[in-house]
C-alpha cells in the first residue's frame, strides 16, 4: 500500500500541528533525563515472503527510546507495530537495518545469543497472557528463573513480592484457570519483571481485558516504569491506553507516521484518526470520535 502523495503531505503537517498542540497543553512528564538509548532502531526493514508475494511489514523505521522511557506504539491493523515489537524483543529477525537493545546490537547475534538476551534483558507481556495452565501463579512468575536456572530463596522472595505488588499476594497458589483475565495479566506482568529486565515489551496487554482490569494493568505498567526505571514499549489499539505513555509513536504501512507526547487521550485520538480515516479500508473509528482535520 503506497500512501498517496497528498496524504503524505497531510501527515507531515499533522505531525507539526500535534507537536504544537502538545506543547500548548504543557504536559508535565516525569520521565528521567535522556541518557544512552535503551532501544535504537535504524532503517529497520521487515519483508515477509519473497517475489510477487512479498509483503513489506516495516519500511525503513527509525526509532530511539531513551532509558526509562515508556513508549506506546499505535497504528492501524497491519501497520507493522507488532512486527516492530517482536523484532525489538529479539523474537523475529529483521530483513534489514539495525536494532540495538540495552547497548547490544541484535543483528549478527546467533539464535542462542538472542535467546539469552530475551531471557536476561527483556520481559514480555502478551495479549493472551500466555501463562502455563499447569503452573500456579507463583510458579508462572518463577518460570524465567527456572529457565535461567537461577532459582534461589532471594528469587522466590522477589516473586512473592512481585505478586503482592500486582495485588495477587493472596492468590499465589491459584492456577491460571482460577484467575480472572485481569489477574492473569497481572501475573504475567509479575513474570515479566522477575529477572529485572531493562526492557519490558507489552503486546496489546489490555486488548483482552475489560476497561477496569485494563486500567489496573496500565497503572501497574506505569508504576513499574516510574518506580523501577524500566523502559517500556507497549503496542496498543486503545488511545486511552496509549496516552499513559511518555510518548506515542504511530506506524502506518510499516513506516513511522509521526508521534505525539503521551498524557492526553484526545491528542492521541486526533492523531490516530488522521491515520485511519483517509483510507477506506480502515473502518474502525477509535473511541467513536472521528476528528476531521483538514489543512486550511
Amino acid at each position: 500500500m503506497v500512501l498517496p502523495q497528498q496524504a503524505q503531505g497531510l501527515l507531515r503537517i499533522r505531525v507539526g500541528a500535534n507537536a504544537e498542540i502538545v506543547r500548548a497543553m504543557s504536559y508535565t512528564n516525569e520521565s528521567p533525563p535522556p541518557s544512552a538509548p535503551a532501544v535504537a532502531v535504524s532503517a529497520l526493514e521487515k519483508v515477509y515472503g519473497s517475489g510477487a508475494a512479498a509483503t513489506t511489514a516495516l519500511d525503513h523505521v527509525d526509532l530511539s527510546l531513551s532509558d526509562g522511557e515508556f513508549v506506546a506504539i499505535m497504528g492501524p491493523s497491519g501497520s507493522g507495530k507488532s512486527t516492530l515489537l517482536h523484532i525489538v524483543g529479539a523474537l523475529e529477525s529483521p530483513s534489514g537495518g539495525h536494532v540495538e537493545v540495552a547497548g547490544r546490537r541484535l543483528d549478527g547475534m546467533s539464535e542462542h545469543e538472542l535467546t539469552l538476551l530475551r531471557r536476561d534483558h527483556i520481559g514480555f507481556v502478551f495479549q493472551f497472557f500466555n501463562l502455563l495452565p499447569s503452573l500456579s501463579a507463583i510458579e508462572n512468575v518463577l518460570l524465567p528463573a527456572l529457565i535461567a536456572r537461577r532459582l534461589d530463596e532471594r528469587t522466590r522472595e522477589r516473586a512473592q513480592g512481585l505478586l503482592a505488588r500486582v495485588g495477587l499476594g493472596e492468590r499465589a497458589a491459584h492456577l491460571p484457570s482460577e484467575l480472572s483475565g485481569g489477574e492473569q495479566q497481572r501475573v504475567s506482568i509479575a513474570r515479566a519483571m522477575l529477572m529485572s529486565p531493562e526492557l519490558l515489551l507489552a503486546d496489546e496487554p489490555t486488548g483482552n481485558l475489560d476497561s477496569r482490569a485494563g486500567g489496573q494493568v496500565l497503572h501497574l505498567l506505569r508504576e513499574l516504569n516510574r518506580d523501577e526505571g524500566r523502559t517500556v514499549v507497549m503496542v496498543t489499539h486503545d488511545p486511552s491506553a496509549a496516552a499513559i505513555a511518555d510518548r506515542v509513536v504511530f506506524l502506518r504501512d510499516g513506516r513511522v507516521a509521526g508521534e505525539v507526547p503521551g498524557g492526553d487521550t484526545h491528542s492521541v485520538i486526533e492523531f490516530f484518526a488522521t491515520l485511519e480515516t483517509p483510507l477506506e479500508d480502515e473502518l474502525s473509528i477509535v473511541g467513536g470520535t472521528a476528528v476531521e482535520l483538514r489543512p486550511a
Binding site: L91, T115, R118, F124, N130, L132, L143, I147, L151
Partner: protein, 856 residues
C-alpha cells in the same frame, strides 16, 4: 512447588494425563508385542536345547545317521574299539499312537508316543527312574513323568498303543522316569521299551537310531580328538557331534521360523514406533503455545528439545515397564496357542536378554519417535508458536512422496524373496536384508500415506456428504484440512491391514496352489498313512510292511503304490536337514500320480528313476544349481550314490520343493532300509467307494494307528497344516492390527484434544452436541475407511509382487486373493476404528463451551 525447568514438563504431563496415557499406550503395545515374540522365540529355542541337554546330559558325543537311516552294528563295534571311548549307550526309536479305552486311536499330539528301545544300563539318555523299576523284557514300558501325570498313568497301568509297523500292543507300565531337566517332551509321550521287544514291534531287526558316547576324559580337547577320529573312521554316512552341536543343528532348523517371528516383531515395533511418533507430534502440536511462551521467556532450543525428550523418556520408561507386563501375558497366550496347534513347546522361558532387548528397543524407539517432534519444537519461531499459528497446517510436499516410493519399491520387488529365502536354506544375512527392506517398505507407505489416503478420502466424502450434509461436511473439512494428521491417523491402520493382507495372500496362494496341484496330479483314490504322519514327517511314522500287500489283496484294488519318505540333509541346502528323500515305486507310481515334470515326460522320468536316476524338486534344483542331465551326489548312512537328474518337479504336493524322488532301491542304497510311510491306492473303475469301506474296515481291525485319507481329506490335512503355520502368524498380526486400531483411537482422541478450541467455537456458534458428535464419528469413519482401503490395496500390491517373485522358490505358486477374510477383517477394523471415535466424540460433545474457547 516446581524446583527446576524440567519440573515444568513433568507438571504438564500430570495436568494432561489423558495425553500422557495415550502416548504411553503406544509404547506399552509396541514393547509388549516385541517382548512377547522374543519370549516365544526363546521358549521355542529352549524347548529344543533343554530337551537335548536333559536327554543326553553328561554324554560327550552322539553318533547319528546323517539324514535318516541307522547306525550299523559294525559302526557300533568300531565306536567301541576306538581309543578314548569309555562306554556307549544306544537305542532304536519309533512312534506309536495311543488308543483309548475302546481301542480307537487318539488323534493329535496327545496320542503320539515316542518309544525308545534299549537295554537298561545301555541307555543313551539321561533317564532317571523316579518310581517303579526299569523295564526288563516283553511288553514292559517306562513313561516320562510329565506325560504320565497328564494322562493319569501310574505304575501298574496298561497302555494300549498301535505300533507303527506291527499293530496293537498292550504295554505294562513298570516305571516312571524323568529327564534330568524335569521337562516334558512338548506334550507328546516319551517312553522306554526293552530292546528285543522294541526291535520286534518296531520291525527294526538291526542298526541303531543313535549312539551316545561317554569318553574316558571330559577334557574338551580329548573329546574333540575322539570326535574327529570317529568321524574319519565311520565315514560321511553318520554325523558325530557333541550335544551342543546337536543343539546348533536344532537351532538352525528353527531359523526360518525365528526369522518370520522376528519379522513380525519388527512390524510390531514399527507400528508401535509409528504410534509413538504420532503421539509426540500431537503432543508437540498441543504444547505449541506453551513452547512459544517458554522460548519467549528465554528457554533455549536445547532446553525445549530436552523437555520434550524428558517427557519421552518418562513415558517410554513407564510404557516399557507396563509393556513388559503385557508382553508376559501375550507370550503365555502365544505359547498356549502354539500348544493348541499341536506344536511341542516347553514352559514359557523368559530370558534376561529378551527383557533387555525389549526395554532398550522400547526406550530407543520412544526417544527416536520423539526426537523429530522435539527438534521441530525447538526450531519453532517463538513468536509464531506463541501466537499459535505455527505448524498447524503443514502441507505434504512431493519430495515426501518420492522418498516414500523409493523406500517402497525395493521392498515390494525383493523383500518377499529375501525373507522367504531364509526359510529354504538361505543365509541369515539375506533374511535380515529382507526384513530391513520390508520395514523400509512400510516406512515408504507411511511417507506416501498423505498422497494415497487423501484422494480416497475425497472419493468417500462425496456419498457421506449426501447422507449427512452438515456433519459430513464438517468431518471432511476437518479431515482434509490437516492432511498430515489425517494420514498419520489412518496410516497405522493401513500398515496393520496391509500386513494382514500380505499374510492372507500368502496363505491363500499356498493353499490354492496346493489344492490345484492336488486336483491336477492326484490319480489315486485315497492315501493310507499313520495318524500324525504325512509326507513332511519323514520316517518318523512308518507303516507295517504288510499294509500295502493286504490292501492290494482287497477286492476292487487296482494299483497300490507305496512311498518311503525320509527327512535328510540334501546338497546345497546349507546343512538344513529338512530335505525329503522320497522312495517311490516307479513302475506303479505313474498310475497313482499324474504330476507333470519338466525336462522329461512322466513316463521317461519314472523310467529314469527305475534306472537309478533322481527327480528333483524345483527348489532343490535352484538351491544346488542342478538341471536335467547333471548329477546329484547323495550321502547317507548306507552309502553314497551319484544319481543322474532325470526331471524336475514343479509342484508342492510332495513338500515345499526341497525334494528328491528316487526308486526305493536307490533310497535304500543311500540311507538304509525302511518301511513305507504312505500307501497310494487306486481302485478299479466304480469300485472306489467299496474299496474305501473295505480298507477302512481293515485298518480298524488290524492297524488302528493308520488312517485313510481321500484327496478331499488330504487337502483338508494340508489346509490344517497351513492353518497351523499361518495361524501363529495371524495371531501375531492380529495383535499388530489391534495395536494399529488403538493407534487410531489414540490419534483421534488427541486430535479432539487438539481441536478443543475449534469445537468450542462450533458449539458457541450453535452446533448441537449431536452435530459435534456425529461429525467426529463421520470423520473417524472416513479416516478408518480410507486407511483400510489403502491398506488392503497396498497389501495386494505387495502380495502380487512377492508371490510373483517366489515362483522358483515355491514351485508353481500363483496369486490368490482371500477376498472373504480380507473384507471381514477390513470391515471389523473399520467398525472398531469408527467405534474408537465414540469416546473422543462423547468427550468432545460434552466439552464446556467457555472452557473450550479458552483451552490451552
Amino acid at each position: 512447588m516446581i524446583a527446576s525447568f524440567n519440573g515444568v514438563a513433568l507438571r504438564g504431563m500430570r495436568t494432561h494425563k489423558l495425553r500422557s496415557v495415550l502416548t504411553g499406550l503406544g509404547v506399552v503395545l509396541g514393547v509388549g508385542m516385541v517382548f512377547a515374540v522374543l519370549v516365544l522365540v526363546g521358549t521355542i529355542h529352549q524347548t529344543f536345547t533343554q530337551l537335548i541337554d536333559s536327554a543326553y546330559g553328561t554324554r560327550s558325543l552322539i553318533v547319528s545317521p546323517r539324514g535318516g537311516g541307522t547306525v550299523s552294528r559294525q559302526a557300533l563295534a568300531t565306536i567301541r574299539s576306538t581309543p578314548g571311548v569309555k562306554s556307549t549307550g544306544q537305542s532304536i526309536g519309533g512312534s506309536f499312537i495311543r488308543l483309548d479305552g475302546r481301542g480307537r486311536p487318539i488323534h493329535g499330539s496327545a496320542g503320539i508316543m515316542w518309544m525308545a528301545g534299549f537295554n537298561s544300563g545301555e541307555s543313551p539318555y539321561d533317564f532317571q527312574m523316579l518310581s517303579g523299576r526299569p523295564m526288563r523284557s516283553g511288553p514292559e514300558v517306562v513313561l516320562e513323568k510329565n506325560w504320565a501325570r497328564e494322562h493319569h498313568l501310574r505304575v501298574g497301568d496298561v497302555v494300549r498303543a498301535a505300533a507303527s509297523p506291527t499293530g496293537t500292543v498292550s504295554l505294562h507300565v513298570v516305571g516312571i522316569f524323568g529327564l534330568s531337566s524335569g521337562l516334558g517332551f512338548g506334550g507328546q509321550g516319551l517312553a522306554g521299551l526293552p530292546l528285543p521287544y522294541a526291535r520286534h514291534v518296531m520291525n527294526q531287526p538291526h542298526g541303531w537310531m543313535d549312539v551316545s558316547i561317554t569318553t574316558t576324559s571330559k577334557d574338551e580337547s580329548t573329546v574333540e580328538s575322539v570326535r574327529r577320529r570317529l568321524q574319519r573312521e565311520l565315514g560321511n554316512g553318520v554325523r558325530v557331534q557333541s550335544p551342543s552341536g546337536l543343539e546348533d543343528q536344532a537351532t538352525s532348523q528353527l531359523k526360518a521360523l525365528n526369522i518370520v517371528l522376528y519379522f513380525f516383531s519388527g512390524v510390531a515395533l514399527f507400528v508401535g514406533g509409528f504410534l509413538i511418533l504420532n503421539s509426540f507430534n500431537m503432543t508437540v502440536l498441543q504444547r505449541i503455545r506453551e513452547i512459544g511462551t517458554l522460548r519467549t521467556l528465554g528457554a533455549t532450543r536445547r532446553m525445549i528439545v530436552g523437555s520434550v525428550l524428558l517427557e519421552a523418556v518418562l513415558v517410554g520408561a513407564a510404557g516399557t515397564v507396563l509393556g513388559l507386563g503385557l508382553g508376559f501375558v501375550l507370550a503365555h497366550g502365544l505359547v498356549a496357542a502354539m500348544r493348541g496347534l499341536g506344536m511341542p513347546v516347553s514352559g514359557v522361558s523368559i530370558g534376561a536378554s529378551s527383557a533387555i532387548v525389549a526395554v532398550v528397543l522400547g526406550l530407543t524407539v520412544t526417544v527416536a519417535g520423539a526426537l523429530r517432534p522435539a527438534r521441530r519444537a525447538g526450531r519453532l519461531e517463538p513468536i509464531r508458536a506463541v501466537l499459535g499459528d505455527a505448524g498447524a497446517r503443514e502441507r505434504p510436499d512431493w519430495r515426501r512422496a518420492a522418498i516414500g516410493l523409493a523406500l517402497f519399491a525395493p521392498g515390494c520387488i525383493f523383500g518377499g524373496r529375501f525373507w522367504m529365502g531364509g526359510g529354504s536354506g538361505g543365509s541369515t544375512l539375506s533374511a535380515m536384508l529382507g526384513i530391513g527392506m520390508t520395514l523400509a517398505l512400510f516406512a515408504g507407505i507411511v511417507l506416501a500415506a498423505p498422497f494415497l489416503i487423501m484422494p480416497v478420502l475425497r472419493l468417500l466424502a462425496a456419498p457421506l456428504r449426501r447422507i449427512s450434509p452438515t456433519g459430513g461436511r464438517l468431518a471432511f473439512d476437518s479431515a482434509s484440512g490437516n492432511p498430515l494428521r489425517t494420514a498419520a491417523t489412518a496410516a497405522a491402520l493401513t500398515i496393520g491391514l496391509s500386513v494382514f493382507v500380505v499374510n492372507s495372500v500368502f496363505s491363500a496362494s499356498f493353499l490354492g496352489t496346493v489344492r490345484d496341484q492336488v486336483d491336477r496330479s492326484f490319480a489315486r483314490d485315497f492315501t493310507v498313512q499313520s495318524i500324525g504322519g504325512g509326507v513332511e514327517t519323514g520316517e518318523a511314522f512308518q507303516l507295517a510292511p504288510s499294509v500295502a500287500d493286504e490292501i492290494g489283496r482287497l477286492p476292487g484294488a487296482r494299483v497300490v503304490s507305496s512311498l518311503r519318505t525320509r527327512l535328510v540333509e540334501l546338497p546345497g541346502t546349507h546343512g538344513a536337514s529338512n530335505g525329503l528323500a522320497i522312495g517311490i515305486e516307479p513302475r506303479t507310481f505313474g498310475a497313482v500320480d499324474k504330476s507333470e515334470y519338466s525336462g522329461a515326460s512322466a513316463r521317461a522320468a519314472l523310467a529314469g528313476v527305475a534306472r537309478g536316476g533322481a527327480i528333483l524338486g524345483a527348489a532343490l534344483a535352484s538351491a544346488d544349481d542342478l538341471h536335467v542331465g547333471s548329477t546329484i551326489t547323495l550321502r547317507g548312512a548306507a552309502g553314497t550314490v551319484r544319481a543322474p537328474v532325470v526331471a524336475l518337479l514343479h509342484s508342492v504336493t510332495l513338500g515345499t520343493g526341497l525334494t528328491v524322488e528316487l526308486s526305493q532301491a536307490t533310497q535304500e542304497a543311500i540311507y538304509g532300509p525302511m518301511n513305507d510311510t504312505q500307501v497310494f491306492v487306486k481302485a478299479q473303475p466304480g469300485q472306489a467307494k467299496a474299496l474305501e469301506a473295505r480298507t477302512q474296515a481293515l485298518l480298524e481291525r488290524r492297524y488302528p494307528n493308520l488312517e485313510m485319507l481321500s484327496s478331499v481329506d488330504l487337502k483338508h490335512h494340508i489346509q490344517h497344516q497351513m492353518d497351523q503355520q499361518f495361524g501363529l502368524f495371524n495371531a501375531i498380526i492380529f495383535v499388530a492390527v489391534l495395536v494399529s486400531l488403538l493407534g487410531v483411537i489414540n490419534t483421534l482422541a488427541m486430535s479432539v484434544l487438539e481441536r478443543t478450541r475449534d469445537i468450542g467455537v462450533l458449539r458457541a456458534l450453535g452446533s448441537s452436541r449431536w452435530l459435534v458428535r456425529s461429525s467426529l464419528l463421520d470423520e473417524s469413519l472416513l479416516i478408518t475407511l480410507a486407511g483400510a482401503i489403502v491398506g488392503v490395496a497396498a497389501g495386494l500390491v505387495i502380495g502380487v509382487a512377492w508371490i510373483a517373485g517366489l515362483g522358483d522358490l515355491i514351485p508353481g505358486i500363483s496369486f490368490r486373493f482371500p477376498l472373504g477374510a480380507t473384507l471381514l477383517v477390513a470391515a471389523v477394523a473399520v467398525i472398531l476404528g469408527s467405534l474408537a471415535a465414540v469416546l473422543p466424540a462423547r468427550r468432545a460433545a460434552r466439552i464446556d463451551v467457555i472452557r473450550a474457547l479458552t483451552y490451552e
